[in-house]
Amino acid sequence: MVALVLPRLISFEGPVRRSMSVAERNAAALRSAYWLVMISGFVEPVVYLLSIGIGVGGLVGDLTLPSGAVVDYAAFVAPAMLASAAMSGALAEATFNFFGKMKYMRLYEGMLATPVRPFEIALGELAWAMVRGSLYSAAFLVVMVALDLTTVGRALLAFPAAVLVGFAFGSLGMAFSTFMRSWQDFDLMGSAQFALFLFSGTFVPAESYHPALRWLVEVTPLYRAVDLIRGISIGTDEVLGGLIDVGYLLLVTAAGLVIAGRRMTTLLCK
């Protein structure tokens, strides 16, 4: 009886545990060189904040938002940099590293010979990407508070929002990576990412675009992320808008995960 029931109990103890074992593998693979890669992902948005937020901000002066609130340009740009930091941290892990592990290291083939399923690999990798994204966000929030661009209370509230942004982009990036044929395809993604970074209401309010373009900006995931985090960090208190952003990002996360899991099954379980 024990021999009959025990193996079933072990193998069915859950997708969450199996996903975590995938994330655990990445923790075990952490080496000194990796920290350098991670630091670069943090430095980039800080450099933008200092050069554009504070440098260009000195020329721009204060900004009047559509709500009537007047903010310092650096305080306007900072939450957008936070959102981009969360995006690029999660994307780096969920695209380059994920693709490399799948296609070149053939790591997942080994994993799939164990009870771990494709969807669980996707979930585990996303959880790991999130750890990286969250570290970037936390570090950036510390910088924002230090530069007096937001308060400690608002920073604490903005942190989970940034984590959600990471989840959405990590999951989206992973889904895209399953369609990539070679490293060259990532150049396209890099361009798309840069375009998002420039035009998602990051440096200029979306309201300043022509109405025909404005809806296009507002429908992109980074705009939603910026809108959510800026709302929290400046304190516009637009609860409904914030909830729409949260719903949108949750939807992107779920869709990305499902697509990534399905595609991995198609690619690896032929």
């Binding site: 021999a3 072990i10 193998s11 069915f12 199996r18 593998r25 693979a29 053939r106 399923r117 690896l268």
Partner: protein, 310 residues
């Protein structure tokens, strides 16, 4: 619990990739404790069959039961009790030798402490104990293969699937792998392996099937197969001539079969010495004569043909 019942049972098993049929309706059953082999040329469908048994490739048609379970429904539960050594090593290059085992153990939900103890034990078993802290990259082919075998054993599997376990290894490395696999078999672990090496099949397998173009063309123990599809002995004759073909007619009637190869003629006979005497009686004088016992290779080449398959 599984005594008497086959661990792996397939009926009319089919695998198709688009319009290409890799496995074309095979029946097989593997019993607990036996070493079962798939023998066949490249592209015969061995690996596709192994992947279906490993529950990583969905069955196109037919029935497949592994450990009494359905791979489509119980994949994770079955894989928890299998050990898989794939054709090409897919070890984790970012981890050390020991970490490759302990990390893999976690995919099975094995507690860390148990994982560490088992990893140490398995590394000794495959003679890699001294390389525990080394990266995977600098290991030789034989070492990597042994590590992959150790990894396949981390969950103490009931069945171990080995896809061409010694392909690409040098003779010393092959013998070490064979010896370790033989020990596993003695411990009662069921082994299922694919190979295109006849000596490997003869050394390791209690029973095997010969596959060709997705079908099973023969089945039995190595000795059975030799008895059924070949003769007791084979005489190899080399003639000093442009073509060996012309001697086929002159040798007709000696033994049960005469086969001309580009460089020699093979006589399939029961008594090699008597056959050689007959050859000389017919006033034929080959440049060299070799009498040998019939091997699985003769069976294999007879059944699957001598055409090169890439």
């Amino acid at each position: 619990m599984t005594e008497g019942r086959p661990l792996i049972e397939a009926t009319g098993l089919v695998k198709r990739f688009g319009s290409f049929t890799a496995v074309d309706g095979i029946d097989l059953s593997v019993r607990a404790g036996e070493a079962f082999g798939f023998l066949g040329p490249n592209g015969a469908g061995k690996s596709s069959t192994m992947r279906m048994i490993g529950c990583v490739s969905p069955v196109t048609a037919g029935e497949l039961r592994i450990l009494g379970l359905d791979p489509a429904r119980d994949g994770p539960a079955i894989r928890a009790r299998l050990g898989v050594c794939p054709q090409s090593d897919n070890l984790d290059p970012e981890l050390t030798v020991a970490e490759n085992l302990t990390t893999y153990a976690r995919f099975f939900g094995i507690p860390r402490k148990v994982a560490r103890a088992r990893a140490a034990e398995l590394l000794d078993f495959v003679q890699l104990g001294e390389r525990a802290g080394s990266k995977v990259e600098p290991l030789s082919g034989g070492m990597k293969r042994r590590l992959t075998i150790a990894r396949a054993l981390i969950n103490e599997p009931e069945v171990v699937l080995l896809d061409e376990p010694t392909t690409g290894l040098d003779p010393q490395a092959r013998h070490l792998v064979w010896e370790r696999l033989f020990r596993l078999k003695q411990r009662g672990v069921t082994l299922v392996l694919t190979t295109h090496y006849m000596d490997e099949a003869e050394q390791l397998c209690d029973r095997l099937v010969v596959m060709d173009a997705g079908r099973i063309v023969a089945e039995g123990s190595p000795r059975d197969l030799i008895a059924r599809h070949s003769t007791r002995e084979v005489v190899e004759l080399r003639f000093l001539a442009e073509s060996q073909e012309v001697f086929v007619d002159k040798l007709a009637g000696i033994g049960s079969r005469v086969e001309a190869l580009p460089d020699r003629v093979l006589l399939y006979v029961d008594d090699g010495d008597a056959a050689v005497a007959t050859v000389h009686d017919r006033a034929l004088s080959p440049a060299s004569v070799l009498v040998r016992r019939s091997s699985l290779e003769d069976v294999f080449l007879h059944l699957t043909g001598r055409t090169l398959v890439d």
